[in-house]
Amino acid sequence: MSRTSEIQGVGSVPHAYYERSEPLTGVVLLPSQERHDPGEHPENVRRLPGVVDRLRDAPEWDRLFVLYPRYARTEDALRVHSEGFVEILESTGADAPLWLDTDTRVSRDSYPNSLLAAGAALAAVDAVAMEAYHRPDSLFALTRPPGHHTGIDKAMGFCLLNNVSIAARYAQATYGIERVAILDWDVHHGNGTQEIHYADPSVLFCSLHEWPLYPGTGWVDETGAGDGTGFNINIPMPTGSGDVEYLEALDRVALPVIEEFRPEILLVSAGQDCHAADPLCGQLVSASGFKAMATRSAELARRLGIGLVVIHEGGYNVSTLPLLDRSIVAGLGGFEVEEPDPFAPLDAEPPGAWDERLESVIATHAPRWEALR
């Protein structure tokens, strides 16, 4: 039995919040996440248990809204992915272990676990979107595998189902929501999410990613297609970008545009692989940087009066991920984090070409968005 399934008080509202003046946040936990087991792999079964343990040990644990997911249904996946692709994923169990591309490996129960991961995102959407007295303001779905590289009909980059896109379309189909904003701060470009919503003006996609880096997409000029033109915003961050650059990208581009878009729900693809100690990238974001990004996202959602769902994507240093995810929860709920980040860079040089990159993003999107003018 995984440690997460021993947790008490699932779905309960902490008593202190019956008359609350503070934000209510929490987590969706994924029981049996170890069923998706790619073996010796960056995206391994050891990533999330340490995160859950750290949260359980933290003083804010008692103030968190905690719930478990249900399985997403096939029809939820089919709002995003092709029928043929879902059938292929369904069939992988029989032939597992199996590589779907050079770095995406499935085990026997990977597909049911990916339905549960998508279901965690849906449970979070339900909780923040339903008209309920104890509606949480935000939730962080602690999911794996990640999803943002999977497009309409191709699994890649450790991802199986695109959890954030499935959540976006579910919110539209279920709650009469028209406009969904997706903010993606994973170090890699969310090429799958971009592909799915590229021609769709009802979903604003804004991605901060190291560039150049896997998967190679995500340059400034990929702005959307047809009616969706102007609703796909890529902010390619130079290698060596840290808290200053990531927060500047949020403050000067992503958050003002999202605010102008007036979404009815805000989804975040939270990949902590842009952290300074992640083995898969060259970025320098610190734990307090993640907390600040979460705080800004939560403040924007509060200003707009909408729900916020944060969905776990990358983050591949098993040792540091617990602090980073705890910092995100702290940002959402307004909690203090007393642990220092030993990897926070103190003396980083500003990355070259950042000002030019930012100006070119602003220049590209200013015609469509007044907030950038």
């Binding site: 010796e40 792999h41 960056p42 391994n44 050891r46 770095d103 300074a276 100690a277 083995p279 898969l280 060259g282 591949y316 240093n317 098993v318 040792s319 540091t320 030993p342 990897f343 860079p345």
Partner: protein, 225 residues
């Protein structure tokens, strides 16, 4: 039997010299074949990892020319997956392997940036020192790590560390105490020389089942456990 301890950076010379002096088991410190990458927050250090089994380890086994080796290699299982693997190897190759589980993060010691905690458990090898386990890095101060080895039948524990002048005496004291607690022979070797701007004092010792020092220096006579 004779145990040889190689502290210095030139492990090739050290192994050959101690083998010539009659060592039957040659022990190397933490990160035996790589620079001290954990000194700096610089991802370039990741480039020093080798695919398992570490070619440097295999070279060390060759150089040992029939003697046993205890050494720890910086290994990568693929992009983004790094470990420090501690091996006990006989003349024919590795006999046991475990991966450092307690990984340190503190200013000036950024191990967590360069390797993940091992998760496979530890093993005992039938070395000339008797049933022998190895521990490296912070694991040498971990009571549960010793308990795991002893309950698997270890009668001797060889330890490889990279401690600075301040923490080295404390680490030796801890190892002597754990040897006495578990009634096993302990051997410890520290990293020596300057690497990545950090100076390591080197040194090593063997302790008997009561935690009493059997000897120090690079060649120590020990009765097998």
């Amino acid at each position: 039997m004779r145990i040889g301890l190689v502290s210095g950076l030139d492990w090739r010379d050290g192994i050959a010299r101690l083998r010539a002096a009659g060592a039957e088991l040659i022990c190397l410190p933490l990160l035996s074949f790589a620079p001290w990458v954990a000194a700096k927050r610089d991802r370039a250090g990741l480039e020093h990892a080798e695919r398992p089994p570490s070619p440097s380890l295999l070279e060390a086994i060759e150089l040992a020319d029939g003697a046993w080796i205890s050494a720890s290699a910086y290994e990568s299982e693929g992009e983004g997956v790094f470990y420090v693997s501690s091996y006990i190897a006989g003349p024919d190759g590795p006999v046991s392997r475990y991966r450092q589980a307690a990984v340190v993060a503190e200013p000036g010691r950024y191990e967590q940036m360069f390797w993940s905690p091992g998760h496979e458990g530890n093993e005992v090898a039938a070395s000339p020192l008797g049933p022998t386990g190895s521990l490296v890095g912070s694991d040498v101060r971990s009571a549960p790590a010793w308990e795991e080895l002893v309950s698997a039948g270890a009668r001797a524990v060889v330890c490889g560390v990279a401690e600075d002048a301040e923490s080295w005496p404390q680490t030796m004291t801890a190892v002597a105490g754990l040897a006495a607690l578990h009634s096993v022979i302990a051997v410890i070797v520290n990293r020596g020389g300057r690497s990545n701007d950090v100076e390591f004092p080197g040194g090593g010792a063997a302790f008997d089942r009561h935690g009493a020092e059997i000897g120090t220096g690079e060649l120590i006579e020990v009765a097998p456990g």
